[in-house]
Symmetry: C2
Subunit: 405 residues, 2 copies
Amino acid sequence: MDKKLRIGLIGLGARGSDLLPHAILPVEDAEVTAVCDLYEDRRLAAADVVWEKRQMRPAVYEDYHDVLKDPNVDAVVISASWEAHAPIALDAMRAGKITACEVGGAATLEECWDLVHTYEETKTPIMFLENCCYGRNELMVLNMVRQGLFGEIVHCQGGYRHDLRNEVSFGRENRHYRLNHYLNRNCENYPTHELGPIAKILNINHGNRMLTLTSMASSSKGLHSYLAREKGESYDLTSAQWNQADVITTSIRCAGGQTIVLTLDTTLPRYYSRGFHIQGTLGMFEEENESIFLDGVHNKDDFCWKNQWGNVESFREQYEHPIWKEFLESGVTGGHGGMDGLEFRSFVHHALTDQKMPIDVYDMAAWMCITPLSEMSIARGSAPVDIPDFTSGRWILPDWKENEL
Amino acid sequence: MDKKLRIGLIGLGARGSDLLPHAILPVEDAEVTAVCDLYEDRRLAAADVVWEKRQMRPAVYEDYHDVLKDPNVDAVVISASWEAHAPIALDAMRAGKITACEVGGAATLEECWDLVHTYEETKTPIMFLENCCYGRNELMVLNMVRQGLFGEIVHCQGGYRHDLRNEVSFGRENRHYRLNHYLNRNCENYPTHELGPIAKILNINHGNRMLTLTSMASSSKGLHSYLAREKGESYDLTSAQWNQADVITTSIRCAGGQTIVLTLDTTLPRYYSRGFHIQGTLGMFEEENESIFLDGVHNKDDFCWKNQWGNVESFREQYEHPIWKEFLESGVTGGHGGMDGLEFRSFVHHALTDQKMPIDVYDMAAWMCITPLSEMSIARGSAPVDIPDFTSGRWILPDWKENEL
């Protein structure tokens, strides 16, 4: 393809500065013509990375509005702090810049509606950068689900189970936005890594939708315990009022009767897991021991499942998703085990060919809204709350039933 | 000990007929002086087992009231259908027979209160036979929790994840009580295998209590799908209205701020798991890959946890629970990997020495009540419901804080 997508990258913290060399610049059809951050050191470092990799000098901006005015920018990638995602994405769509927005929970429900309405008014393409939709196991399971291997799907689980005690509690030193969130909010603050792949499996917004949820929050003990050991009791944040619970469990019920259980678990010591788990009438997948159980095949191992731990590898040859098959043949590149590279290749390809984005504004709104809804449910003693239908009823229509990813 | 406990065994289905040779008769301090069941073939078979193992002939009864009148019976073991547990246990306490009652959920909240009030009036010792409280991993984790290895416990999970499609849907052929439950009720119908060990860890009724819960039910697809393949669409139960959901998720919040998530998952193809999982400020245990994570020890394996799968074995030497240490030295006996034998030895020992039962009527009521409460929450669209305090406020008293097991 002759035409290249000229990208302005907004937000150059840990995420943006990792995406730039590992996911964006490796895509040949993309150029980075502008970089933007509130911090000068980050801006200059990013411009240097572009120069090193591509021998091009991007425009360097402090204010994201200047990126949106730059005629040499076709598209923006937003990897700013969580609370800045929606405002920047709204402005970008209004400015006609093709938009790719990093993940995080919404601040409010209204923000989710604004994203949908602004997309519907402007028709500016927007993609939500949920990289876990491109995870190898997630895509293989999706492929197996579409082929009917697990039968009718009835129940799914997922989690963001990641020890972030250092990142959160040293947020001032790290200039990290999570600090203010953990001090002030109490909610499923990062639902999309697990919910994204599950929503694709359950055809959310394409013949199915999420109806209602309840969230329950544990106490908040992890950060105090951690800081007391790392910094001592006299350090100011050690005795801070951390509003964010250590573990939040959110149960969601779908129109099709499926249940989804999400676990946020980020301030206790543990290993990393997305706790991906799906169950249907013919089989199941379990991430914690990387196994697949198929009815009629594995029943004799019911009580000695240890023998089957890790058996996902034996399904790769037959059921690897085509996206990954091609990717492996071409040599895996990009961060997070290849997921970031895949999602960027997909974004650039869809933008240049003017195709419907594989993770669209309705996905974005439906997944991000879990954050403020969980916050309300917790504040109301785990009362059930309604999940909006951002498609305004169109999820039931035959021409909405196609689900690209 | 000279004195032997003379036991009448009520209910000789799959559970009773397994307990008799594998858990009860191996206890030297116990005799079985009566057996009772509504079915003659079961009664006669049980009497033969007692004769074979002990060369004694027990009295044989059809009506459990006759067991309660038998002066040669000191204690009864109730392993009848779920709905019969409480009525028989109430009558047994009133008749002054030391009572051991098998597990299952309650029919109603009132039944739980009746058990508590009848115990308080009669003072007849009663033990709830939750064998998983004697599971090897459950006891090792309890031991580690008591020694502070995991820090302050914040979140626990457990499940009864067991493919019972054959047992349930062929309930007529098997004379199994589960059939009527699955046709009619929709609830967390078997909460105690997972909740029992967790309640001991969280000191429920001994300085802590469960305050509130929400339950969410998936659709019910597993039994229809299974029967359609096993028996065809024309078989009457294939198209039955199975009220019981395939998967039910129950979230519980405790006075101490801990959360407990229970999963009932019995009508989809899968391997057996109790999904036992605990997390504290210093570490965690995960059953799905039999691993323990300790802060400051395992952090470098955060993203390659596969290397640590199965590492529980490396903790046995130092942290095996004393009950299991002694048991292994004496040679494991009894069903379900030794748990059944341990709980029976414990019951007989506590009965003969007139000590407070290790799993008492307050545990029994608190654990069994989850069933009708989950049923109410589901019927109300997952609304939170209150969990009664069966100790009537005494759980906060210093002399109630001791927790034997």
